[in-house]
């Protein structure tokens, strides 16, 4: 009986381990999610921009990105443009990215704009 229980706990923890989503590095995440709109080089001229009514931010511009705190950037990535009174076209990413992954993306954006 005890053995069975031990086995069950082991089994359940293994299951939990295997279902916990993998944490990806910031460059891969940027390429998988952000790039569609913000572009291969992050300059805001992505594949999708032609028919977008509001253009994505140029992440390489210190001028466009310098005024934002890390907390601002974290918030807009997690909750989307509407959460900071910006365009609905900037999606919320909280279901795609963990908080840790978003923090890493904020650091990655700082490297792109060489600001902050």
């Amino acid at each position: 009986m005890r053995k069975n229980k031990l086995f069950l706990t082991l089994f359940v923890s293994l299951l939990m381990l295997s279902s916990a989503a993998w944490s990806d590095d910031a460059e891969d995440n940027y390429k998988n999610y952000c790039w569609q709109c913000h572009g291969m080089t992050g300059d805001g001229m992505g594949l999708n921009v032609q028919d977008m009514s509001v253009q994505p931010r140029d992440h390489t511009s210190a001028k466009a990105m310098g005024g934002r705190s890390d907390a601002d950037l974290f918030k807009v990535i997690k909750e989307g443009g509407l959460a900071i009174d910006k365009s609905v076209l900037m999606p919320p990413w909280r279901d795609s990215l963990s908080d840790d992954e978003i923090h890493d993306l904020v650091k990655y954006l700082r490297k792109l704009c060489q600001c902050g």
């Binding site: 569609q36 572009g39 001229m45 594949l47 999708n48 921009v49 032609q50 909280r94 279901d95 795609s96």
Partner: protein, 229 residues
């Protein structure tokens, strides 16, 4: 008695078709498509998959569309399955590098029938499907477009007619032809339940608006796009 025999014969014949189909899938499709799951657990793993997952095909596709498409495949994702692998920098924006896109392998009508039978047996789990279903009803294309584009920003990544809309996601003007209505409701409600690393965000569209979006996709799919293209 005679009818019973016929019925059994029919069931056996159907099962044989599906078995043949599974063999074709394993020999000619498995190199690009995942047939047993699970979905990719990392971005790198996702990019290694050359085509969309098919291990839940029976809960996703309309069988009629599937059989036709396999005989005469036509591009669905303007920039390929992973746009990142098919684009190049351009003057005004990143452009699709069409030289890297290959036509999809086609099947004979007979093989397509077998493969469709086999694919329709591959069902999604209850966790993937969730509880929301399509409740029916209809909407005008113009009101639907407001919900899809203005309120929820879906057009940023999806074309709503040939040549109009975003290019990183699959064209949506044919989505309701391709996919079952309950799948559409389920995927829009929780894309990550189907594919944790999908480039499509969960936009947290309200349940009533998801119904409206699927009604809109059905209205779009009624147009004869193949003729218009």
């Amino acid at each position: 008695m005679k009818y019973l025999f016929l019925l059994v014969a029919l069931i056996v014949a159907n099962a044989a078709l599906a078995d043949d189909g599974m063999l074709i899938l394993q020999n000619r499709c498995a190199s690009c498509h995942e047939l047993s799951g699970p979905a990719a657990q990392s971005v790198q793993e996702l990019w290694q998959r050359k085509g969309p997952d098919l291990f839940y095909a029976g809960s996703k596709y309309n069988a009629e569309w599937l059989e036709k498409w396999l005989v005469k495949p036509r591009r669905i994702r303007p920039a390929g399955h992973h746009p990142i692998q098919h684009i190049k920098p351009g003057n005004k924006r990143d452009m699709i590098d069409t030289t890297t896109l290959r036509p999809h392998p086609a099947l004979s009508p007979n093989d397509a029938k077998k493969v469709t039978k086999a694919l329709m047996k591959l069902k999604a789990t209850a966790e993937m499907m969730g509880t929301a279903v399509f409740k029916g009803g209809s909407i005008s294309v113009s009101f639907g477009e407001m919900v899809f584009d203005k309120f929820n920003g879906c057009m940023a990544c999806h074309e709503i007619e040939p040549g109009y809309g975003g290019l990183s996601g699959p064209e949506v003007y044919t989505a309701a032809k391709r996919y079952q209505a309950d799948y559409l409701v389920s995927f829009i409600t929780d894309p990550q339940a189907w594919n944790p690393k999908t480039p499509m965000p969960n936009r947290h569209v309200s349940a009533p608006n998801i119904q409206k979006i699927v009604q809109y996709l059905q209205a779009l799919a009624k147009e004869n796009w193949d003729e218009k293209k």
